[in-house]
Symmetry: C2
Subunit: 469 residues, 2 copies
């Protein structure tokens, strides 16, 4: 029996499927001002767990959290030429405050390199103060003409790391450490998200960077989403903001700085990377609710049994919620599927008489009955199994939908449905323009063995090209 | 031997002492835009722990975190007459974005009642959707003409809770629950901060509220600081934003809403409530660093012993940092005192030969030697002792500096150095004006037994009056 679909099927209209999931899973709403968003409790709970997992790794990499102001003088932006050019079209400007017109317009931060550069210059005196490793969790504003919830919003939330180093090598090593130990570790082990790690071609770099490192995930429609980026800023911002240090030899030298960020965009990535026609699928390590214990019918014995099962799951360390038997069982199952809760524990009167409950996996719909005594330990095992299966499944999809090609034309064909990999030398600047005319971009450059190049001047680089969000 | 003071003594110039502590403890800096602030890693670590402790309690009270936009249409403010009047002078306005002048100016949120009201109206349909209990952690902007770091800044960070209820009684009960179980519990048990709990007189209420509940702490200079407030908004915002619900009887009824907040102001409160002439004093439960293990001299054996002591403290659950012996011991001791770390473990070569180290309490400078084996358990005990001693000490100071008086004149005299308590009937509106002319305000109304009144119409209320921040 085919149940009526609550969501637009992915194959019919992927963007509408995305909108449906965001709305029906109660993740977010459009805000009243163009492009802003209201993140609803379920969406927030997921972001909160993303934050916690990344924050732990950021601290593990030695960076300290701090907070810099939302408001930045417009003049700060003008000090780094590429930076102001890159960000000018997206800025929101405060011209009035406290009932008066301001003498100098204020920018609502789109990113904080400039203001943090100003304070780094103040705090860094000698080589002993380096490296200076800072991070902040904040909101930023980049005006969006074609907003989409989580993916492109005028205001979004993120972390932005900013560091200053005594040498190019140290800055380069730290940028790579952050990208691998913070972002890639989080992506693989929490978000179950395989990506292509590589560097951006010059045309796609952050405004003011000498190198941008990226992690490119593949969404269910074969398009790319940049999950996190790490920028080596060289001495550009140090020069613009006078971030000098006294070296051991007593010389005044310019610092080398980096910046790196991951944002609420990742929530959009979660939806599109793992979601299916039944809705969201949340990896167990990320899930705010790992298991829902659901009463098949609204009977006291059934509801009581649900509470007992939930208590045993909770004491085993599972994040659990009970859905007592009010309202249609089928409708409630559908709602939990849309929310992507990894494991469903169904408790019905007939099963209860036999001392069993039914466990249903969200990722593949497998279901089986287990005795009440065994539920907690089985659930713990299954959550691990689901986490691995989701990662392996996504890896397989990424590999299957990446085509090795030789020419721009073949790349254009392959990127109708997935990614293409080809020699960077077969693309070049003119190739990039041809691709771009068909909405395809170079997502990253890699060495032929898939590892990260030090810069785009290395010989024999491959590139991954795709349509993207 | 008197050491040269690094900080201005409190008795000489309290505001300068405060500035000195904020700067020398590396808590915060002024931002480049008037009234904004840069919260440095040590200040942020304290705020992060305040957030975690309050967040745990907010979730315990059943509220869910969410996120609403920074930008609010100006028109939203105009819907609640008292609200727009109260906030207009403080608003920051965005007039240009994306390279164009906006059709409608946008307000940078000073608080979110209006935008959250709009969404509550959308989400609340029936009595089954109530109570709706939301909270957000965010930044807000209220333009400040006389800014002071943490105490009054144009941008500050806070949590703002917003709830909707089916009845006045339910809203009133929840407001009181939040004030006692979230704020007062945090203040007493984490911040070691005794306060007077009570309600604001009409003149001091939040713009649009029918009742504002406050917790008023006493700073070291005898002035009051409002540590957290909870507002009953009655049906004012529900009426302005059409927050209706269908009752069990099938009638459309207006909700009763509340809002409640605590902010980075509390960091200022921490400094001024517990600080002394040597700097900050952080209660152990709040302290990001509970113990510093400090090498008296830069010798390998001493530094190694420090690491071992730190490891034993860490495995006992103490948040610990090691200060190896580089640079002047006296200077390093002074720096840790300024930062208010509760416990100092001094490791010197002579003590080490006898197998002992010296523990020094920050709150009262008591010092004693303990054997290396005993350090961890002694430290754990001492941290508890310090936490209690700080709370009891602050309670005693609050009681000692509160005078029972009969008249406005006596109140004016008493508030030169502390708080005054008198009959609310002896003040009244004209009395409030007389007090205000001397910069004294009614901080809260209480019942004679010190408990919280339901509203300001109760007979026989007392009031607490003071100068304030």
């Amino acid at each position: 029996m085919a149940t009526q679909s609550v969501l637009t099927p992915q194959a019919d209209d992927f963007p509408r499927w995305y909108q449906d999931v965001v709305a029906k899973a109660e993740m977010a709403d459009n805000g009243p001002v163009r492009g802003t968003m209201v993140i609803r409790p379920y969406g927030w709970a997921i972001w909160e767990r993303m934050q916690a997992a990344m924050d732990e790794r950021i601290k593990g990499a030695g960076a300290q959290n701090a907070y810099f102001p939302l408001f930045i003088p417009l003049s700060y932006f003008q000090r780094e030429a590429e930076h102001v050019e890159g960000f000018s079209p997206e800025l929101a400007i405060v011209t009035h405050a406290g009932g008066e017109e301001l003498a100098e317009p204020i920018v609502v931060r789109p990113t904080s390199e400039t203001v943090i550069g100003e304070y780094m210059a103040k705090w860094v005196q000698s080589y002993r103060d380096l490296p200076l490793l800072l991070n902040q969790w904040s909101n930023v504003v980049r005006w969006e003409l074609r907003p989409r919830l989580f993916l492109r919003s005028s205001e979004f939330l993120w972390q932005e790391g900013h560091t200053a180093h005594a040498s190019y090598d140290d800055a380069n090593a730290y940028a790579n450490k952050i990208h691998l130990e913070v972002y890639n570790d989080f992506l693989e082990n929490v978000l179950a998200a395989p990506t292509y790690l590589g560097i951006k071609p010059a045309s796609e770099r952050f405004a003011g960077a000498i190198n941008s490192i990226t992690a490119e995930g593949m969404m269910r429609d074969g398009k790319a989403l940049q999950m996190a980026t790490t920028h080596e800023l060289g001495q550009n911002f140090a020069r613009a903001f006078d971030i000098y240090f006294q070296s051991e030899a007593g010389q005044a030298e310019l610092c080398h700085t980096t910046s790196w960020g991951a944002s609420t965009r990742m929530v959009g990535g979660l939806i599109m990377l793992h979601g299916d026609d039944q809705g969201l699928v949340v990896p167990p390590r990320l899930a705010p609710i790992q298991a829902v214990v659901i009463a098949v019918r609204d009977e006291p014995e059934v509801n009581d049994a649900c509470e007992k099962v939930a208590a045993s799951l909770k004491s085993a360390g599972v994040r659990v919620q009970v859905d007592r038997g009010r309202g249609s069982f089928g409708r409630r199952v559908t709602d939990w599927e849309i929310k992507g809760v990894p494991l469903r524990v169904e408790v019905g009167p007939r099963d209860l008489k036999e001392g069993v409950v039914t466990l249903v996996r969200r990722d593949n719909a497998d279901k089986a009955a287990f005795s009440l005594d065994a539920v907690a330990s089985v659930a713990l095992d299954l959550l691990d199994v689901i986490q691995s299966a989701m990662f392996e499944g996504a890896k397989q999809r990424l590999a299957d939908a990446t085509s090795d090609v030789l020419t721009i034309d073949e790349a254009l064909e392959a990127t109708e449905t997935g990614f293409a990999r080809l020699k960077w030398s077969a693309v070049g600047e003119s190739g990039e323009a041809t691709l771009k005319a068909r909405a395809v971009t170079v997502r990253c450059l890699q060495r032929p063995d898939g590892s990260m190049p030090a810069n785009d001047r290395e010989a024999e680089l491959d590139c991954i090209v795709a349509k993207s969000y």
